[in-house]
């Protein structure tokens, strides 16, 4: 997160849109999703640029790749930001990397749908799936196919990939959905052993305390901190995959800060240990999501990318109580009751609130075409099964 030079925000928006039309990150091999978002002035803190990347491996190698592919673009972009060593991405990459690292913000909680899957791994699965379907299509047109059963077809497919001329080769992956399922079961059991007794003791107290604060806050009208971006609806519906960034203010009390920390801690544990099968609770469309407490814990920045329009399945999305557990502690969120009830479940109010806080991504790199999380899981499963056979 870097501060934008005074008066440079609109020029920067133009630079980002120009970069978007070429997308210099396209050839990247270590990068999943990436986005640039301009967030408005809030509580006296000037306009800032957020650069979000989801990458494989070491940070240094990731930054090297960015510099190699888009040095000039990064210089153009960061030329509008405070304290940037001019033209360093091209001329002095070490300084550029130092600048980015110094300005980096850790995620308080992080979710990835396809855990343990690198970009190379996913690309290979997509290619193998396409090759397999093309081959099966030729099989379809051969006489006598209707007499085959599933096992015969599978053998045909394996034989096709055993043929050394077939490309791409299915590469073995360090993880498989089968392993992940076992890990999920084990983690779910272990976590419940710890969490259930803890929840029985602590949760009632927290709910009651939250109710007290809900009552206390019901008389306060929290003012809107920045105007609604006029392009919000367009940027919510960019294509088959979309980016969402929201900037919220934590309600001004120590209790609320403690609760959001607790909510994000629970999210962090659940996202990394339990929701590892391609869905975050009931939400099956999110690729990556991250929550960061910023500005000395005054604000929470949320960044995510997901399949479909932002309103798709918002019904299902707003059902789990976790949303309230985190965002119920922020200003202007639809009022909750005993923390878990109402809030996001008041769907139209919740939607209107998201519109208020939404920040458009003027640059959005999406690497997997239109493929959804759920389709990628199917492709990975097929490829993993073929790799095992070989």
């Amino acid at each position: 997160m870097t501060e934008i030079l005074a008066g440079s925000a609109s020029a920067l928006q133009g630079v980002l849109l120009a970069a978007q039309s070429r997308d210099p990150f396209r050839p990247a091999k270590l990068l999943h999703y990436a986005a640039f978002v301009i967030i408005p002035q809030i509580d006296g803190i000037p306009t800032r640029l957020v650069f979000e990347t989801n990458y494989d491996g070491e940070l240094d190698a990731h930054l090297d790749e960015l510099v190699k592919l888009a040095g000039a673009d990064l210089d153009n972009i960061y030329g509008n930001c405070k304290g940037y060593p001019a033209a360093s991405a091209v001329a002095k990459p070490q300084e550029f990397k130092k600048y980015l690292i110094e300005n980096s913000v850790p995620s308080t909680a992080f979710y990835v749908a396809l855990q343990g899957r690198s970009r190379v791994d996913i690309d290979n699965a997509i290619e193998v799936y396409n090759t397999a379907t093309a081959y099966l299509e030729t099989l379809c047109n051969k006489p006598g196919t209707s007499k085959l059963n599933f096992d015969d077809v599978w053998e045909e497919l394996v034989a096709h990939f055993k043929n050394p001329v077939t490309t791409p080769r299915p590469i073995p992956s360090p993880v498989s959905q089968r392993q992940l399922k076992w890990r999920f079961r084990l983690n779910a059991v272990l976590l419940s052993l710890v969490a259930i007794p803890l929840a029985i003791v602590v949760l009632p107290i927290l709910l009651l305390m939250t109710r007290f604060y809900e009552w206390l806050e019901s008389g306060i009208t929290f003012k809107r901190k920045y105007p609604v971006n006029p392009q919000v609806y367009e940027y919510m519906n960019l294509g088959r995959q979309n980016h969402m960034c929201t900037l919220a203010t934590i309600k001004p009390s120590r209790f609320r800060l403690m609760m959001i920390r607790l909510g994000l801690f629970a999210t962090k544990i659940l996202a990394s240990k339990v929701f590892i099968l391609g869905h975050l609770d009931t939400i099956t469309t999110i690729h990556f999501a991250r929550w960061s407490l910023i500005d000395n814990d005054r604000h929470v920045l949320f960044l995510t990318n997901y399949d479909g329009s932002w309103s798709s399945y918002i019904d299902d999305f707003s059902d789990p109580p976790h949303l309230n557990g985190v965002w119920g502690n922020t200003e202007r969120f639809p009022p909750t009751r005993f923390m878990l009830w109402q809030g996001a479940r008041l769907i139209q109010q919740f939607q209107a609130h998201v519109v208020e806080e939404f920040q458009p991504a003027y640059f959005f790199h999406r690497p997997y075409g239109d493929n959804t999380v759920q389709n990628l899981i199917r492709y990975l499963e097929l490829r993993d099964a073929l790799a095992r056979e070989l």
Binding site: G239, Y313, L346, A352, Q374
Partner: protein, 489 residues
């Protein structure tokens, strides 16, 4: 316990499709003189059919009235006085992101629309939609005359005709232009449906009518105005702000109108090409695209029997989870996936029921306009009309997330084979044992010709509009009201 539904205040088309009336006329009107237009509305409002029908008698003519957001303003209610309409309604079917959501691209691009596009809105804006129904063209004509809308929409009623669309069908002809029985799957609305409706089909009133609880026990936002502007008390008090605001939107619904032209020839040419013109394969393939035989019998219940009776009481998960009878991407399985979405069947059914619409479409047919020439068809299709409480969650969701989504329900690159915005690059997958087969290069069969988002107000709201007097309202209002005190949308 179901809520008490105020049928007297709800317009009739929410309760009935008036299927006993064969002829419909849709008049798109522009308000040129709001004072005269209000006087006209005051005269016709008593002719508006309410949901008390279907009661004992079936009226020989029916009239319903709907307005666009601009239309409400054109009648004299400044847009900043009224709040609580949805973003989609206020910013219309032509807003920048709508083309992508609705699939209005290529030949369906609004540059090609006959009415309702940004281009035509400049000098021919849509304000009011009058839906007139009758037994025959004569009956509708006479009824229109009684409503002062025939032979011409004269200036003395303050309205101007922007576009006229007639739609008719022969008695008992319920097929849409491709030749399939239409309108079988309709949600039964609690409080409006007949008693015979099965529990599974019964959908909460609030999914379609504003002011009632929906499937989640919530109520969609009701558009409202401050008390001052309704000194005579035509409107009911707003349930959430009974002392300050009046509920303009109560008992109303959002109405979607889309004139959809159907290329019947291209459809059957494509089927012939893919089926090798073998009559049996041809029928089966066409049925697979739709999900029903021509008779309306669903493939799930009658996989081998084209002549079976139309039926709607079925699910997918118990008998056809893999799409072997009715393909996953078939039109009816996309428009209402019932229990076949990728989660538990009961959860899927609940999700599907949150995205239902009432369809009140009628087919239209424009003959070739030539004197003494060969009779023929110039254009035919469907005047698609949908009613729902939340355009975003219901109509637009179905269009974007189900019909036009290439990755719908685990498919790879398939859009709705019949009404999707296909352009030759998408496929149709027929699930099979042991292999799926794919039909490639689907062209577009259905093209959007024009339409818009309307609001179908309750009768009290229509009477309020008809009697609204900005001057009297301004006198009644105690000076400038504090804008910040208004409830948020």
């Amino acid at each position: 316990m179901s809520e008490k539904v105020d049928r007297k205040d709800i317009q009739g088309m929410l309760a009935s499709g008036y299927n006993h009336l064969n002829y419909a006329r849709f008049l798109f009107l522009r308000v040129v003189d709001r004072v005269k237009a209000r006087a006209w509305l005051a005269k016709v409002v008593d002719k508006v059919t309410t949901a008390e029908y279907p009661g004992k008698h079936k009226p020989g003519n029916c009239l319903n009235l709907a307005l666009t957001f601009k239309g409400i303003e054109a009648m004299g209610i400044a847009s900043d006085l009224i709040c609580g309409f949805s973003h989609e309604f206020e910013s219309r079917m032509t807003r920048p992101e709508a083309a992508q959501i609705l699939g209005d691209n290529g030949p369906s691009d609004q540059a090609n629309w006959e009415f309702g596009s940004i281009q035509t809105e400049r000098d021919r804006p849509l304000h009011l939609l009058a839906l007139l129904y009758g037994d025959s063209e004569d009956s509708v004509r006479n009824f229109a005359r009684a409503c002062e809308l025939y032979p011409i929409v004269a200036a003395n009623i303050g309205l101007e005709l922007v576009y006229r669309q007639d739609a008719s069908h022969e008695r008992d002809d319920l097929n849409e232009p491709f030749g399939f029985r239409d309108g079988i799957s309709q949600p039964a609305v609690e409080g409006l449906a007949g008693k015979s409706s099965k529990h599974r089909d019964l959908i909460k009133t609030g999914e379609f009518v504003l002011g009632y609880k929906d499937g989640k026990g919530l109520k969609s936002t009701i558009a409202s105005i401050e008390n001052w502007y309704d000194p005579e008390g035509y409107l009911a008090a707003h349930p959430d702000y009974p002392n300050d605001r009046r509920a303009f939107g109560l008992n109303g619904s959002y109405l979607v109108f889309r004139k959809l032209s159907q290329n019947v020839r291209a459809f059957w040419d494509y089927i012939d090409l893919q089926s090798g013109a073998d009559p049996q394969r041809r029928e089966l393939l066409a049925a697979r695209l739709i999900g029903r035989w021509r008779s309306g019998a669903p493939l799930v219940l009658a996989p081998d029997n084209p002549g079976a009776e139309p039926a709607n009481d079925f699910l997918y998960a118990p008998t056809d989870p893999d799409g072997l009878a009715c393909p996953i991407g078939a039109h009816i399985r996309r428009a209402n996936p019932r229990d076949s979405l990728p989660n538990w069947p009961s959860q899927s059914l609940a999700t599907s029921n949150r995205h239902r619409i009432i369809r009140r479409g009628r087919k239209y047919l424009t003959p070739i306009d030539s004197e003494g020439g060969k009779p023929g068809i110039q254009d035919q299709g469907l005047c698609f009309i949908a009613l729902n409480a939340d355009l975003l969650r219901q109509f637009e969701f179905i269009q974007y997330t189900w019909l036009n989504n290439p990755q719908f329900n685990g498919l790879d690159n398939d859009k709705d084979p019949v009404i999707g915005d296909n352009d030759g690059t998408y496929q149709f997958t027929v699930q099979g044992m042991p292999l799926n087969c794919h039909l490639q290069g689907l062209p577009r069969f259905v093209t959007m010709k024009g339409g818009g988002y309307f609001f179908l107000p309750g009768l009290r709201a229509l009477r309020f509009l008809a009697n609204y007097d900005p001057v009297v309202a301004a006198q009644a209002a105690p000076g400038l009201t504090d804008a910040s005190a208004r409830p948020q949308r």
